[in-house]
């Protein structure tokens, strides 16, 4: 059973009608091609209309679509081979943060990302994609390993935030994220960061310092989720739509404000409707970007990375 967002329903209804019509034609051996093609046309135009006019809140909903491809789905579709590695060499292996070496078109790349779960059991195991400090330390360990072996790094960001738990505080959530942010600036290898779903605040930024930071078309990236923003500024959860508008958190907004470097298009209707196309697009972008970044020396990349982030901000 597909999960349908409110604005996906009218399209799905039409699609269902089309299926029924075609079945009717086969069962009764009648020609419905005229009706079918007109229905197909209305589906296409409704899709186009719906998805070219998405509100910011609808983008947030798409970014959280339960059928959306997650980090491991991208890895599986992009890599010919992938060897996952585990642990922060300190306290634990954080299942909300995955990583390992993979081969993309024969090229070895370190891929790291937050991982969400598909069903209740998985969601619990993955802690809803909310890493603990050991997740960030694991990520940094893998990045330093990639640097040691001279392999480029790709991070896939998809998190509702770093986990705000008791043990997370005891083990230094703030310190873990801070160290990642600082140390990622000095990585000698190319670093590409892609927001594939939710990019919530420090929990996202903790693996998102890169030479190129890209966002998929239907994702969000900001300092706080619309819900939490609503609860703090309006003292109620009911203003999430307004909060989403105010935060300017979509890929278009973030690119317009110069806070990310590019947008990766998704299949019409969202990445969840076509894994093959969505992941192939991401794969091509990764390969192109790596070869583009390889034109620079390590020192050039580092100083460009620092320059880019230190220019961000608006003041008088």
């Amino acid at each position: 059973m597909r999960t349908l967002l409110e604005f996906e329903k009218p399209i799905a209804d039409l699609e269902l009608k089309l299926v029924e019509l075609k079945k009717l034609a086969i069962d009764n051996d009648v020609d419905v091609s005229a009706a079918a093609s007109s229905l197909e046309k209305s589906i296409a135009s409704l899709k186009k209309e719906t998805f070219s006019n998405l509100t910011r809140w609808q983008r947030v909903q798409l970014s959280r679509h339960p059928e959306r491809p997650y980090t491991l789905d991208y890895i599986e579709n992009i890599c010919e081979e992938f060897i996952e590695v585990h642990g922060d060499r300190n306290v634990a292996d954080d299942k909300a943060m995955v990583g390992g070496f993979g081969k993309i078109d024969g090229q070895t790349v370190m891929i790291i990302g937050q991982q969400k779960g598909r069903n209740t059991k998985q969601r619990q195991m993955r802690n809803f994609g909310m890493p603990n400090p050991e997740g960030y330390r694991k990520a940094l360990r893998l990045m330093k390993m990639a640097e040691k072996f001279g392999k480029p790094i790709v991070t896939l960001i998809d998190t509702p935030g770093a986990f705000p738990g008791l043990e997370a505080e005891e083990r230094g959530q703030g310190e873990a994220i801070a160290r990642n942010i600082r140390d990622m600036f000095m990585l000698k290898v190319p670093v590409i960061c892609i927001i594939i779903g939710e990019g919530a605040s420090g929990g996202a930024l903790g693996i998102a310092i890169g030479d190129r930071v890209l966002m998929l078309e239907n994702t969000w990236y900001s300092v706080i989720s619309p819900e939490s923003c609503s609860s703090i500024l309006w003292r109620s959860w009911d203003f999430k739509e307004q909060a989403a508008e105010a935060l300017k958190l979509t890929a278009n907004d973030m690119l317009g404000n110069g806070l990310v470097d590019g947008i990766i298009p998704e299949p019409l209707g969202g990445a969840h409707l076509n894994y093959g196309l969505a992941t192939a697009t991401v794969k091509k972008v990764i390969l192109d970007t790596i070869s583009e970044l390889n034109k620079f020396s390590a020192d050039e990349r580092i100083s460009q990375r620092i320059d880019k982030f230190t220019k961000m901000g608006v003041f008088q």
């Binding site: 986990f163 900001s222 300092v223 958190l249």
Partner: protein
Amino acid sequence: MSWFTRKDKGILTPTESKREAPDGLWYQCPSCKKAMHTREHRLLAYTCSNCNYHEKIGSQEYFELLFDQTKYTELDAMLSSGDPLTFIDTKRYPDRIKATEKKTGLKDAVRAAHGKMNDVDIVIACMDFSFIGGSMGSVVGEKIARAIEYALQNKIPFLMISKSGGARMMEAGFSLMQMAKTSARLAQLAEAGIPYISLLTDPTTGGVTASYAMLGDFNISEPGALIGFAGPRVIRETIGKDLPKGFQSAEFVLEHGFLDFIVDRKDMKDKLASLLEMLK
């Protein structure tokens, strides 16, 4: 039998006719309720003579306490906030800024200065909680980044005094990237081998904890300060339980290995100066 009986019940003295000591002459400790003369309180570096409660103070007071003869050169003093997102919640963001500037006399939530501490050169950036909860927007990030750059160019140790609720929501994405900006400059400072002391004061939470505040060569604090990534309310809601006593206090954070030491504010200047002297 009482010799005095009240004839009318519920007599209340109106506020305007209540007799009070002139404002600013006496300080009452919010922790132990002891009253003390403000002059005495100031001489004790704004700590309580009875229970040693460290009152929250701002950049003005820290600069007075730490710089020799309170002499310092302020850096980028006139930098003030823009409104990149034309953000409106219950108020327009520029209106909020203007109102806060008027109320506090500050331009934003951080001030940076260069001066001497026991004859040792030092750059200090200090946050002001009174300015929108010490929240970090573009100005905070930029001033800190420039202060670090100044320390880097002049090879002077850097002291950051944090006091913040975290990010400034009205600058959303821009606010987030200040974590990156400040950390980038700190990475350069670290490469150059220039000492960085991070003093986390009450309270330091959110994006500030998850960037510059936790990146010191020395992370230090004052007694009883609240330090954390997530705020206590959020954690309580997440785990659905009350938090243990002392959770996220400076002492707790020290115990878990994320602070180098806790220093009494009265000893702060001498201790920091000695520390920097040893690193020369």
